[in-house]
């Protein structure tokens, strides 16, 4: 590892990141920075370019523009990069023939930052047995195994691509709980994409919305709270609310709920009760017309 990566403040830095598949543009001159110690949610509709962005960061695809991850170029320095970056793509990418014990032995053998003791401790909390093969495991158990392997690696960036897809609520809760309690600290950074926004919004520190290859929102959760507000408006004030150009309007219990972007909160307070919008509501409002 060179000194450049040791002094870098941004874990990921992208400038003009572009990826085309033939005529289709998956990423269109995207700029973003991800700082250390953050949990960043990369949220977008299907086909918006989330997975392409992750693949570029992991050096799994060619791209145009500038991208540095931990101060390294993912295109040419993949092997070095993967010593410090871990990756869980959606379930069932562990090879079906692999045994639990073989998985642990192999990663211990080739990964210089892997702690076998930590991994065994994580596995001891599950029903996984060393002789089990991946093909005998349920989806939830496969993710437990993968997570145990990844959490035992002292990496600086963890990339999760729909990590809990197809899991029941118990496994999903456990997954994020383990990550928060036993893995995450201020030296680690997590970049996660998921469609189950409600389940991760309370753990995110930063939010990136992506639509048609462009970033729509890129802000910390604190900034989101200041910028966006939801107001429950009584019928007589609806016209006044509409005049302020809300992002979205929906009805609930005979009242209208408006979502505003960048309107001063003091002004909105006169219209009705203020709420912090949920990420899901924000997502739906900003992505309007995506599939139309």
């Amino acid at each position: 590892m060179n000194d450049a990566s040791a002094t870098t403040t941004h874990i990921v830095r992208a400038r003009g990141l572009t990826k085309r598949y033939g005529a289709a543009v998956a990423l269109d001159h995207v700029d973003f920075d991800i700082a250390a110690g953050r949990i960043v949610g990369l949220i977008g509709p299907n086909g918006a370019g989330k997975t392409t962005a992750l693949k570029a960061i992991l050096g799994l695809t060619e791209f145009e523009g500038e991208l540095s991850v931990l101060g390294l170029d993912p295109r040419t320095q993949r092997t070095e990069l993967m010593q410090q970056v871990c990756f869980i793509a959606d379930v069932a990418v562990l090879p079906r023939w692999l045994r639990v014990s073989e998985a642990v032995d192999f990663v211990a053998g080739i990964h210089p930052r892997f702690s076998r003791d930590k991994c065994q401790a994580f596995l001891a909390r599950t029903k996984l047995k060393p002789a089990m093969r991946v093909r005998e495991l349920s989806k939830g158990m496969i993710v437990q195994l993968h997570l145990a392997l990844v959490m035992a690696i002292d990496a600086r960036l963890l990339v999760l691509d729909e990590p809990t897809l197809g899991l029941d609520i118990l496994y999903r809760k456990e997954f994020y709980q383990s990550l928060l309690n036993d893995y995450f600290d201020e030296e680690k950074t997590i970049l996660v994409t998921t469609h189950q926004v409600e389940e991760i919004e309370h753990i995110l520190t930063d939010l990136i919305f992506i639509k048609d290859g462009k970033l729509i929102v890129n802000a910390s959760m604190d900034e989101i709270g200041e910028r966006y507000a939801e107001v429950m408006v009584a019928p007589e004030k609806v016209e006044a609310a509409r005049a302020l150009k809300p992002l979205n309007e929906r009805g609930i219990f005979g009242k209208s709920v408006f979502l505003f972007d960048g309107v001063p909160q003091a002004q909105l307070a006169q219209l009705g009760e203020l709420h912090k919008p949920s990420v899901a509501d924000l997502f739906v409002a900003t992505m309007k017309g995506t599939y139309a």
Partner: protein, 350 residues
Amino acid sequence: MNAPSAIRPATSTKPNPMQTLLWLLKREYWEHRGGFFWAPLIAGGVVIAILLLSMIVAEATAARHGVNIGNLNLDRISANMTPDQVATFNSGLAAGLMGMSIPIMATLFFVVFFYLLGALYDDRRDRSVLFWKSLPISDLDTVLSKVVAAVLIAPAFAIAALIAMHIVTLILISVYAGIHGVNPLPLLWNPAPLITMWIKLVCLIPVNALWALPTAGWLLLCSAFARSKPFLWAVAVPVALGAVLGFTQLLQQFSIPSAWYWKYIVGRILFGIVPGGWLGVGGNGTLRAITGGGDTNIELDKFDLVNSVLSWGHIFDAIGSIDLWIGVAAGAGLVVAAIWFRRRRVETSV
């Protein structure tokens, strides 16, 4: 943005490359235990079973017809044999043992062929490639481990199974002889030619490996390149090219016979992994010599057929042959191309 990780020194302990390769080879063995370890053992076991069965049938038939083949004093017969006769017997025994080994060698060919075709394709199809690529292993190491597994590890297991089968065969024949009151030791267990043969078989593993490189490279290239049906790519492309060359008589324009293409291109990129495929290169027409053809420049020893076909001189001829080394260079080029595609083609759909 001065998070603590910004100042934490990014220490990286480089893993020992030899250790990484060993783990990668272990990985290949775990995944392909069935093909590498069990398949040659089972092939050998079937041969042994057939041998055993024929002994039992022979015994039963003899008993039914009241034939008593006991008390045939082989001791005295062998004592009365001339040294030439003993040598001829040993030569026949060695040739017989090698003949019995053909099923194991054929198994090895099919195992290695399909192993190579799937080596860089199957994990892309089931997306487990994403797991392997999430680990700090270079594509170079990955592909090299598959080459080594195909041309050294799998053949080593096959040769071990083969020698074990030879030994079991000799024991079975000895027991059979013993039941009939014959002492098999002086004839069957003449150690020198047997041990020479086994040592040669082990020494031939690296020679076969060098000879197999173009095939290993071509099959791995197809495996890394194909988005579907690597088998079709591997076989159809050279065959179609051969057909085109045949129709257009392109090669004949350069006064190259079309057989040249089939022997030196198709033969080398698809059948180079046949054990002993290099036979007939060093010495002009060796294989014809075995089948009784005339023009040969190696002296076949009828007293030691196997060891004379696999003579040291002949093995060194093969190692020194330009054909072998052109193949090694071509194989290296194909492996480099396979690494290039392994780097870029991550999933079969993209």
